[in-house]
């Protein structure tokens, strides 16, 4: 790690400006700089098609349309902003407080906690592969990252800021003035640039390099016998997991009413119905991707399933078994009583573990333009510059593991 730092510092010193903060002219690993100076995604999945470009199907199926085309500088600026508590009302939290790279870009909590310890309504969703999502948030109510991220930025119980203060704060910071100018062609610093940069960084969080992916591309030795058995349970029409958690992203991006229980004492979360006004969507939530799911416990919108095993077991508890008395939910037709055995549940968990891939994990900035420390989720050891990509093995290394 020290060597990485030194080389970065050497590079920074060698660049034209003597400023401490310069933006990387390189795209993050999944992306490649095109001739127009934009970072575009390259993945083996792009060799495959998918019906109507929807990115749903089986093993060799293409991805949905991706959000890319940002410049390396915009992405790197987004990375700094993402970790910077300067963006919150009191400098106490950043995006990374609830979306910590060490926890699959989630926070390990049942429900997230915003400024001054105020709880948020739902569990923090992972940000891996958000570049492919056509709707965001648990209730699917936002269509773009730029639109979505303004929610937590300004919600009183999340980051608690307000647009004018945020703009002034950034304008007052010489480092940021310089960085925004270099990322946005010397245009005056504006809030839209903040949103663009954050969206650019979030779109760069690509995880398509798991052992499962190796299997999908045709390397059948990449999965163990137990994991293949789990894959077959997963895609079977008994468990029906793949009907909604459809490869390659392991989500079909639809709203589904499952009848998931709330945490003890909490009222039923109306989910999508609250924003669409369609009562038939009561209790409906966006089907989340299962990529890197092993890293993002606890599970479901209410975050009250501690383990993957417990979550998988929910689906075999019987249709509507956790729906509160008096609620008439339009439960999804795939919710039934598949009577999965203990062995099948164990194998499902084995398979879900193969969806872990952090080989393109970004580096946590060793220092921030604000001078504040990068925000981390509670309980995550903060070593300042402790880069995570050291302990994330690329797929072939993972493959070698027992």
């Amino acid at each position: 790690m020290r060597i990485l730092l030194i080389s970065l510092l050497l590079w920074a010193q060698g660049s034209a400006s003597a400023d401490m903060f310069e933006l990387s002219p390189f795209c993050p690993p999944a992306l490649r700089l095109d001739d127009a100076g934009r970072c575009t995604l390259h993945s083996q999945y792009q060799a495959y098609g998918s019906l109507y470009d929807k990115g749903v199907g089986g093993l060799k199926t293409g991805l949905p349309p991706v959000r890319d085309g940002f410049t390396p500088q915009q992405i790197d600026l987004g990375r700094l902003l993402f970790f910077d508590p300067l963006l919150s009302r009191d400098g106490s939290v950043a995006c990374s407080s609830c979306h910590d790279p060490a926890l699959g870009f989630s926070d390990g909590r049942t429900r997230s906690v915003g400024v001054q310890g105020t709880p948020v309504e739902r569990s923090a969703p992972s940000l891996w592969n958000v570049a492919f999502l056509e709707r965001l948030l648990w209730d699917g109510s936002k269509q773009t990252l730029e639109e979505q991220l303004q929610g937590p930025l300004y919600a009183p119980n999340e980051m608690g800021g307000d647009p004018q203060t945020l703009l002034t704060t950034l304008q007052d910071n010489a480092n940021y003035r310089h960085l925004f100018a270099s990322a946005f062609d010397d245009q005056p610093l504006a809030l839209d640039q903040v949103y663009t940069a954050l969206a650019a960084f979030e779109s760069s969080l690509i995880s398509l390099n798991s052992r499962y992916d190796l299997y999908a591309h045709g390397v059948h030795s990449a999965l163990t016998a137990n994991e293949k058995e789990g894959l077959n349970v997963f895609r079977s029409f008994v468990a029906r997991c793949a009907e909604c958690h459809t490869p390659p992203l392991f989500t079909n991006q639809q709203i589904a009413v499952l009848g998931v229980p709330e945490a003890e004492g909490r009222p039923l979360d109306p989910g999508a119905a609250a924003t669409t006004g369609d009562a038939s969507q009561r209790g409906g939530f966006r089907v989340p991707s299962l990529r890197n799911i092993a890293l993002t416990a606890p599970y479901m919108h209410a975050g009250n399933f501690a383990s993957l095993r417990e979550t998988a077991a929910f689906y075999t508890g019987g249709r509507g078994h956790a729906v509160p008395e008096g609620e008439e939910l339009n439960l999804h037709w795939h919710i039934w009583d598949p009577q999965l055995s203990d062995r099948e549940l164990d194998r499902l968990v084995d398979f879900l573990m193969t969806l872990t891939d952090q080989s393109f994990l970004p580096e946590i900035p060793p220092a921030l333009p604000s001078g504040l420390h990068p925000a981390r989720a509670p309980g995550v050891a903060t070593g300042g510059s402790h880069a995570l990509n050291i302990h994330t093995a690329p797929i072939a290394q993972q493959k070698a593991l027992p």
Partner: protein, 483 residues
């Protein structure tokens, strides 16, 4: 390489290629053997020949161009038996998959389930009580389902979901909840099937909440749809659990459906029901899903003795017309409206409900001369459409072994550890270029089985999962990087 060596090399390569094509292997599987083991050993193009006997397993095929063929000997079939403990008999994701001549019994989920395999053929199988579905291709393009016999299925015996360019022909489906269901699919020909004694015979559906939203361009033709009066035994909560017993054909939201030359008799609720999504209740709303069936054409069909004992909701409708029997054709709510632009030929021949605003799509009289192969297309019929499958197979889904494929592999895998000029987990590309010059072959060799080279870097993981040719392409790609 000298000239003669080059010639020899090319000749050998050609022979090897020819051998690969001409001598696709046949793997024999006999009772007591594992079919899956044969699938593991098979290469694309191979056939797995399964001899008569009982086989208790789930077979999954995640490679291309595999044929699973049962060998029926003097009436003895190879029988995949699920004992109601196994989930699915056959799962496939590969392209060009063929499965034929199997008896498949007593599974819990499906007999044959496909996810995104294109160019599939599912033929001549005998399927009994395999749980929720019988034949279930999903997300597939260009497929054939023919000559299968299916019974005792809790949902649809033959389900085509989110697929394109599919022919379903000459199958026999009976004593299922649904005989044949085309759901959120386009370009389907359902022809010459016999659907009898199901709850509902043939269904063309748009189901809300699925990622592919449309269902259009289906021809339902020359089927025999009779006595579909079996009480609904679907799993509570499933979509087909709302189908009233006694339904011959039901179009629920599907667009551009042509129903022609079928024999539809003895279905006690109705011969044909055309409805918008308000017929199936209990599903969460989906604003991206169009609930109404547009441009349905009911051409000439032989229909009589339908509606003898209609389901409660249809009986109530018919009572408003002072009738206690169900109709041959029922257009329900949104489906009845003129703006749907639906039409029916020979309307007065049938007992109908809700067709007041439908147009007249007069069918011509068909004579013997119109039926011969060389006859010109007969206007007002679909007789000239012989298939909805593609004239050429759907595009294969492969990572090509060339610069383009190499770019995807490099960026998808290698770039996790190597950047052009910054040290990451692995050395920068600049340093690698300095060491190897333009010797791509040496890199291709090294990455198959790397050893520790640089004291300050971890050993690179082996990339022997890539073919030798692909490793070379990736190495070349890497050496050409300049930023």
């Amino acid at each position: 390489m000298t000239l003669s060596k080059t010639v020899l090399f090319n000749l050998t390569t050609t022979l090897l290629l020819l051998a690969g094509q001409a001598f696709a292997a046949v793997h024999d599987v006999r009772e007591g053997d594992s079919i899956q083991a044969a699938v593991e050993a098979a290469q694309p193009g191979d056939t797995i020949l399964v001899h008569p006997g009982i086989y208790r397993e789930t077979v999954y095929v995640d490679k291309d161009d595999i044929t699973l063929r049962g060998m029926v000997v003097e009436g003895e079939w190879p029988n995949l038996e699920g004992d109601k403990t196994l989930n699915d008999a056959i799962l496939y994701s590969g392209n060009g998959f063929t499965v034929e001549w199997f008896k498949i019994t007593h599974y819990k989920g499906n007999a044959i389930m496909g996810q995104a395999g294109n160019n599939f053929s599912i033929r001549n199988n005998w399927i009994v009580d395999t749980g929720v579905y019988g034949i279930f291709p999903e997300f597939g393009e260009n497929g054939l389902i023919e000559n299968n016999v299916l019974s005792g299925i809790e949902d649809a015996a033959i389900y085509v979901g989110m697929c394109d360019y599919i022919d379903v022909r000459n199958n026999r489906v009976f004593e299922n909840v649904a005989g044949i269901e085309i759901e959120n699919s386009r370009h389907a020909l359902v022809e010459g099937n016999i659907a009898h004694d199901n709850t509902g015979g043939i269904l063309v559906f748009i189901t809300p909440g699925l990622p592919i939203k449309t269902s259009y361009d289906a021809i339902v033709r020359r089927n025999t749809v009779i006595n579909n009066n079996t009480p609904n035994f679907a799993i509570p909560g499933s979509l087909v659990s709302t189908i009233p017993a006694g339904t011959g054909i039901i179009v629920n939201s599907g667009d551009d459906v042509v129903i022609e030359d079928n024999i539809i008799t003895g279905n006690n609720t109705a011969g044909i029901i055309v409805t918008s999504q308000d017929f199936a209740t209990g599903v969460a709303g989906d604003p991206a899903s169009d609930p109404n069936p547009d441009r349905v054409q009911i051409l000439d069909n032989v229909m009589f003795n339908n509606g003898g004992d209609p389901a409660t909701e249809v009986k109530a409708l018919m009572l408003t017309q002072f009738s206690t029997t169900g109709p041959d054709i029922l257009a329900y709510k949104g489906a009845a409206e003129a703006e749907r632009e639906s039409c029916v030929s020979r309307k007065s021949a049938y007992r109908t409900y809700g067709l007041e605003e439908w147009g007249d799509c007069t069918s011509p009289t068909v004579r013997a001369a119109d039926a011969v192969g060389s006859a010109p297309a007969l206007a007002g019929t679909t007789r000239d459409v012989t298939t909805k499958m593609l004239p050429e197979p759907a595009t294969p889904r492969v990572i090509t072994v060339d610069a383009n494929g190499a770019k995807l592999v490099y960026q998808g895998i290698c770039a996790g550890c190597h950047t052009y000029n910054i040290r990451m987990i692995g050395p920068p590309v600049m340093a690698i270029k300095a060491q190897y010059g333009d010797d791509a072959t040496a890199i291709a060799q090294y990455i198959a089985a790397p050893e520790k080279k640089r004291p300050d870097f971890p050993t690179m993981p082996p990339q022997d999962h890539l073919s030798e040719d692909m490793r070379l392409e990736v190495a070349k790609y890497m050496l050409e990087l300049n930023k």
